[in-house]
Symmetry: C2
DNA sequence: AAAGGTAAGTTGCAACGAGAAACTATTGCT
DNA sequence: AGCAATAGTTTCTCGTTGCAACTTACCTTT
């Protein structure tokens, strides 16, 4: 069984989705372009002047992000020179990862929160640090996590069955 | 004031800590090496054979991660040929970002959760999707976030004062 | 309609980083 | 002493990045 776990961890190295995520977002500039999108940039020249990225690389990255379904590329109706790049749901779903990275940078690299800062629109209070949480909301730290094979994972359905049997 | 916000967003592009985080972790392989560390890899040859990374690049990345304080490099006491690379607290703090990326990959790229999967050690139930949460734990989505300048952020202290005055 | 400007790229070229394979330097085993 | 294991380094090739200039399509002004 120890051997099985070892082997599973080896599989993990290849099966897990981190490489897939990195293939989409792992190149230089990809995350900064994404941040630009989150911050309301929509056009080629906006990204170019805000990020100071080379034009050919920007063109390449935008095309790639569109290809991956993270951005959509749409010619503007009112001015047909302009192209609008907008986040898809898939792109928007990268927000937690982006915030987590940014928060890590704030805590461990720059030391200070950079303003403007992200707040809850409802009450203008700062958002929580992004954390890994258990199913019932406890924060999980260093020793609280385990790798489990399908048969060892406890699922909602099983608990529901147990409850029904009671 | 609209101009001030515009200007602030421009500042954001340069001040925010995302570039700092990416300088530490943005290079190819860095995240995969980190994942290896989380999964219990400790030695050069382990990383090399698990990841299939070129040896020179691996040496370079490990040195860089050590330099950034994400890993520590320590010669083994029992076998002095061996060097042990271990996560620091700073390195461990990247877990939420890594999980968020992996979960994104699972949801939007590979489609299926790859086993073994991370579970809560206490009850073997799967962890929650990593989310952006408000101070009181509500999940914040697309329209629920705002950029705020220091003077517009509502802090705990202020609320405490209000409470004391009641 | 002509001229000039703006938006979104593309092309050419120099420099840098990634990758494969072979080599080196310690240390441990027998 | 001789051989294998560990953690690199070196060399060379090739792909990527980055800058600057060029192009194409479209809009605005006169």
């Amino acid at each position: 069984m120890g051997g099985a776990i070892r082997e599973s961890l080896r599989q993990l190295a290849n099966d897990c989705s981190l490489p897939a995520a990195l293939e989409a977002m792992g190149e230089r500039w990809s995350f900064l372009i994404l941040r630009g999108s989150f911050n309301g940039l929509h056009h080629f020249e906006e990204f170019q002047s805000e990020l100071g990225i080379a034009r050919n690389i920007l063109a390449n990255r935008l095309a790639r992000l569109v290809d991956k379904g993270i951005l959509v590329r749409e010619p503007c109706a009112d001015d047909r020179r302009k192209i609008e790049y907008r986040l898809t749901d898939k792109g928007y779903a990268l927000l937690p990862a982006m915030i987590a990275l940014r928060q890590w940078g704030e805590r461990w690299e720059t030391g200070t929160p950079a303003y403007p800062v992200l707040v809850d629109a409802r009450d203008s209070r700062p958002i929580r640090p992004v954390q890994v949480l258990s199913h019932d909301g406890r924060a999980l730290g260093k020793g609280d996590l385990l790798w489990a094979l399908p048969e060892d994972v406890v699922r909602d359905e099983e608990l529901a069955e147990v409850k029904a049997a009671e």
